[in-house]
Subunit: 418 residues, 2 copies
């Protein structure tokens, strides 16, 4: 599929993240207005509440878009998702008859503040990238025992904390936590000294389910994707995670990019999962290409200094697709709801410069990386800004994700001071 | 504090679970009516929506009780919680002036269906009972290494799945899952054969928080308590839980008792945590008695047969209080919301008959327990009904919890059949 031309000129640049082929969904406000649904097109945002109010877009009897979340649209199901995309395409395509009516409803992105695009119902994080699992396992258990015995059979996941999910741009406060190094006699309560990122994709559940669902059904239930940074306190994690998994190490914040890129926009970029080393059980088997070819990048900018790209990788490096993760999530009968967010797990590639966390990039702090500024990093330092970028490259166009940005603020001096 | 006399005669029985001293909060409906808030008093329920409608109870400008959850009341904060309790006590006390107006608003419990008493925001489950942790650790790692190194320093917890929390009476379907026994060559997908209960208390967060909070603040933020049965598929858990903790093993269902017993009702029963083997760090230290003396019991009834009491224990056996768990939960800055539910962890006592799970009672299936019917059990069998009971014994009165009941249905023959 080539670039689809829009009458919004900026959308026709082959490198622009938001061409007519994309149409990602966000929530925005401008000075003095309430957050509401919007669709990115080029440098502009189509005010969906205004488009609905004016009657240009009307999918259901009740309004769907004058709210600060896309959950109401998701609730309507895939036929309505498709109808909306069709209508948006018709309104914004080059030569559209209703251009005159639509144009006044466009708001420059430069004037908008972006908010969380949906209400996160519950948040689950997976550990489904093989290079990442192998790297981390090697550091802790050696290469022979790097992958846990179950790893090639199920997408390992754990429940995260939905209340800690924030939109790109939210500043992140370095957490305190209980820490105990291997040579310490006893634990202490102190700021995390090994605070890290994890480069992930987030899949958003758009259709609820009750009992177990197949991989095919799971794929159909996914509404769209965002970039996701699973901020991780490695030192808190090391002390707390046995035997029941990460808890406070992962609950300070998880940042997501502000635009939901729909599954429909990503269709041309579907790819297969890698060859299987062991055959999956039937209920988890691939039934079509369910990963996506999305180029990913992480940059780190020290306070007041330019950014260095510290990793480049691709979502197609994952071992399990989000559809497989969602199918596994339901095997026990676990009910899934609209707005559930599934983190893919850290997306590392096979090479050293394609690792999606500082833990891997600096090999546990033993091999600090060098920034373009000449500084080195083992983990994040106060004032550093971390940015995740994602783009699928089409034939003369780009499907961009909108950056996922977070700056690390220093820990509070006394977290209990009021 | 002695029994407080009510004009509702049944509430004055010293053994009745719902005297005027209790006043637990639930959600009920009667034939042809919508679920709404109610307060148990003796054998009756005070219809709170009707009491508010009539003007007998009016705490805020907006109505709080004509909804199927108590979250709106919780949102108002502790001063309003106290005002409600005071008003209810005045209306229901023996000799109350407004008895004539209140009496028509009482609904017999026998005619009511009980629903989930609140909307669960997120659900966290802890592992904070020492006898349970020691028993389980001994089974898996031997008595020398039974407790993980962190166990005496932090209340170990993991995030559960709020979507799977159900009210007492909901039937539970035996789950399918990926299983691999120690002697199996490869995993298989099959119904769980080691399905179990966990006897717990659930603490309900009534006040939201943003940054770290102290144990004292955490205690103030708790609204009330329920009984909680954390249904657990031991065979799914054994295969999946390394390295990131339990996931599908715990997501089939978690049952709670239908009445929220408020912290105010439990005040006379506060007890200290047990002596510490190692000193806790300051931010987790006890600052007053924050456990409760609540007698607990589990019964098992095979299909169509009488129940056998399989365990008796007490909430005061816990090593960490819910306040300590909640304080720990916030150390990293994790935001907590109204309606968050914290499972205490399995409450086992020091003796064999005080163990809060079949895993412990049957010692991993090696020592099946004998029921009064003559049958034996290692784990739950299809058709078994499991009931948790809880009561604090006062001076001539009882603070009861309302039973937490669940019957196990057989696994679906084909979980993917539609």
């Amino acid at each position: 599929m080539p670039l689809m031309k829009s009458w919004v000129a900026s959308a026709n640049d082959p490198a622009h993240p938001f061409p007519l082929n994309n149409l990602p969904y966000g929530v925005f406000s401008t000075k003095g207005t309430e957050p509401r649904c919007g669709v990115a097109i080029g440098d502009m945002i189509l005010d969906m509440a205004a488009a609905e109010e004016s009657g240009l877009i009307r999918l259901m009897d009740e309004p769907l878009f004058d709210v600060p979340y896309w959950n109401d649209l998701m609730e309507q199901g895939p036929a309505v998702w498709a109808a909306l995309r069709e209508r948006l395409t018709a309104l914004l395509t080059a030569g559209a008859a209703e251009r005159e009516k639509v144009e006044p409803l466009l708001v420059p992105q430069a004037e908008a503040t972006l908010h969380m695009p949906f209400v996160v119902s519950e948040y689950t994080d997976f550990y489904a990238g093989k290079h990442h699992a192998f790297n981390v396992g090697t550091m802790f258990r050696g290469p022979e025992n790097a992958l846990p015995p179950n790893w090639l059979h199920i997408p390992i996941g754990y429940n995260g904390r939905a209340s800690s999910v924030v939109v790109s741009g939210t500043e992140i406060r370095r957490p305190w936590g209980q820490l105990k190094g291997p040579n310490d006699d006893r634990p202490r309560f102190a700021p995390s000294a090994r605070f890290d990122i994890e480069l992930e994709m987030g899949a958003i559940v758009g259709t609820a389910s009750e009992g177990p669902i197949t991989v095919q059904e799971a794929d159909a239930n996914i509404f769209g994707y965002v970039l996701l940074n699973d901020w991780s306190a490695r030192d808190i994690q090391a002390w707390e995670y046995q035997p029941l998994g990460p808890f406070q190490a992962k609950a300070t914040a998880t940042s997501i990019s502000p635009w939901i890129v729909t599954k429909a926009a990503l269709e041309p970029f579907r790819t297969d999962t890698p060859p299987r080393e062991v055959e999956l059980l039937d209920h988890l088997k691939d039934c079509g290409p369910m990963l996506y070819d999305i180029e990913l990048e992480v940059t780190l900018a020290p306070e007041g200094k330019p950014a260095t790209t510290i990793a480049r990788t691709n979502y197609k490096e994952m071992y399990y697709s989000s559809a497989q993760q969602l199918a596994h999530h339901t095997t026990c009968g676990c009910p899934m709801n609209v707005g559930d967010l599934l983190g893919s797990g850290t997306i590392s590639g096979p090479t050293k410069d394609s690792r999606g966390s500082l833990l891997e990039l600096s090999w546990g702090g033993k091999e600090p990386i060098r920034l373009d500024t000449g500084e080195t990093r083992s983990f994040i330092e106060d004032g550093d800004t971390l940015t995740l970028k994602g783009a699928a490259r089409g034939d003369g166009y780009t499907i961009g994700f909108g950056d996922c940005v977070g700056k690390l603020l220093p820990a509070l001096e006394d977290p209990y001071a009021r």
